[in-house]
Amino acid sequence: MSLTGYKRSNGEWGFRNHVLIAPLHQMLSQSARAIEEAVPGVVAISHDWSGMREKDFDRIAKTLSGILVNPNVFHTVILAIGTDIESEILSLAQAHAKTPFTIVTLKDAGSLQALTELGSKAAATALNGAKALKREPAPWSAVVLGLECGGSDAYSGITANPALGVASDKFVADGATSILGETMEILGAEHLLALRAITPEVGQQIIDVVARYEKSINYEGIDIRGAQPSRGNIEGGLSTLEEKSLGAAKKAGNAQFTGVLDYADRPPVAGLYFMDTPGHDIEQLSGFAAAGVNIAVFTTGRGTPTGSAVIPTIKVATNTEMADALPDLIDLNAGTIADGTQTLEEVGALIYDLILRVANGDETRAEIGGHHEFNLSRLYGSTL
């Protein structure tokens, strides 16, 4: 199967051609939703940031600026208040890519209603441009694959995760980029991943990032190994965080790790990366989106509807019972491995093919259902 996409001026490739409506202040989130409703075909994000220089400002700025120029975005309509702090975010975004922006400010529009009307008009014009752009043949290096799991169960580590690892390895071998996230979910497995690092320095970074993470949680007076696995994980048969981690890490197959990325940072060259993200599904997907991930696979044992605003997100079930019970959430069932009806390699090949089909334009369940969550990830409190 060949690969097609949309080439961007900075050399990145998109597998979607979104017109994104992005508010830079929580007060404009409702206008973004109103524009999304008025102009079918565009996609809006919303968030709770009030444009304050809070303790987490750098992380917030990186996340917001990164998603504005995700390669799956053709044009971004930015809703702003008209403040200096917003200009900083736009400058950061433009350092990554020259994605066309239309900036509508409340200050100039004079009212929310006028802003929503101006934004809708800009969105409709941009959407016509997006529809006119044709896909072209893309190289394997166009793929920036995000690896995620959520609502894990005892099957995760023996079915969906290692099968996704088979697919990830194949992409990495062909020159693509693949990113494993969720620092909590490699805790206890970091020494094994470090052995696969391309240099001892990268191996040490993997160890260090996990240590830093555990310290940041211990600082709160909490033992993460006691707080995790979550109740849902335990009901799904997972006994310890280490067991969860050993299974979660299998999503990254057996390839060498080229590097370690901070949250929302773009990978500098192709290869397999580990990114320091929370295990929180949406904070992780939002970090991936900001890092330029253009397609993601999300394995789940318990089933979850969530998706990303800009990344097509493929759901792979770890067990047949859940896949049958929640068909509108699941794109592919890897539970057949445990059933004994398919091998790991066979399901890995199916995931690989599905990634290509979705990259080429097939819609995921999350896209069909309109699930495109977005959150800002904070390391400090919401009001600090």
Partner: protein, 268 residues
């Protein structure tokens, strides 16, 4: 001061008659919005309910309980995913029982099943628990003091004289954070003095009355404010009474304002 309020079976007398579709976790926010849109209820997006630890677990739980038990609410549909940290059934047990229904996506056949069931239950609750007109003996007004207010002493004195209860929030980190605190203090109406460099903003469930400052930003978007910077204490009181009696505030008309849930610890 007599206000014509709305009595709710389990929550006392409020000034609005809202049904709340409460997602107990980020994963059910989209399902909640679909249900709310279908039945004309209120909902909100947030990123809580899972991956939270420490004091945030009880903090977010209590915040959701405060929202669901607010006097402006007639009934609640709690939507959960199933495998998250804050378990919807335990949350449900702490919310006014009879007029609350609880739904789990993982046990309702997925998204479409949950939406269909949620819409049916929301309609049933609306029919069964209608708000009825009743006198509100003690109006509680929340003051968002995100900036310095010149006639604050005058406002406090006038409201006290009219037997209106005032609760206050004084953080300087954006009005939305103060609104959450005022909601938990059961404010029926919020009187907001946003920072000069911040736009006026709203809060689902509670009418917010915004008073402009004299700075350039507020003057450029003056039509988004309920009252000008020159408003006297008496004019502010008149506006509060009109809004409490049912007139819609600017934030209600534009329907803007995201909820900022009080978080102290990072997500895991």
């Amino acid at each position: 001061m007599k206000i014509q309020g709305i009595k709710h079976a389990d929550r006392g007398v409020g000034v609005r008659d809202h049904q709340l579709i409460l997602p107990s976790v980020v994963c059910s926010t989209h399902v909640s919005r679909r249900i709310a849109t279908e039945v004309g209820a209120i909902t909100f997006a947030h990123q809580n309910g899972c991956g939270i630890i420490g004091i945030d677990v009880s903090g977010i739980d209590n915040f959701f309980i405060d929202l669901a038990n607010h006097p402006n609410v007639n009934s609640v549909v709690v939507t959960a995913l199933g495998c998250e940290t804050i378990q919807g059934n335990e949350l449900n047990d702490k919310i006014a029982q009879d007029s609350t229904h609880y739904l789990v996506i993982q046990e309702s056949g997925g998204v479409e099943g949950t939406v269909a069931s949620g819409v049916a239950h929301a309609r049933e609750l609306s029919a069964k628990f209608p708000g009825t007109v009743a006198d509100l003996d003690l109006l509680t007004v929340g003051l968002d003091l995100s900036r310095d207010v010149a006639n604050l002493a005058e406002i406090r004195a006038l409201f006290a004289k009219e037997n209106i209860s005032l609760v206050e929030a004084t953080q300087r980190s954006g009005s939305a954070a103060n609104f959450s605190s005022l909601m938990s203090q059961k404010a029926h109406v919020i009187l907001s003095f946003p920072d000069e460099n911040q736009p006026p903003t709203g809060f689902p469930l509670i009418p917010v009355i915004s008073i402009a400052g004299s700075g350039a930003l507020h003057q450029a978007i003056i039509s988004e404010f309920d009252l000008a910077s020159s408003a006297s204490a008496a004019e502010i009181l008149d506006c509060v009474i009109a809004i409490a009696n049912g007139k819609k505030s600017k934030s209600e008309l534009s329907n803007n304002g995201e909820i900022v849930a009080p978080r102290s610890v990072r997500s895991v």
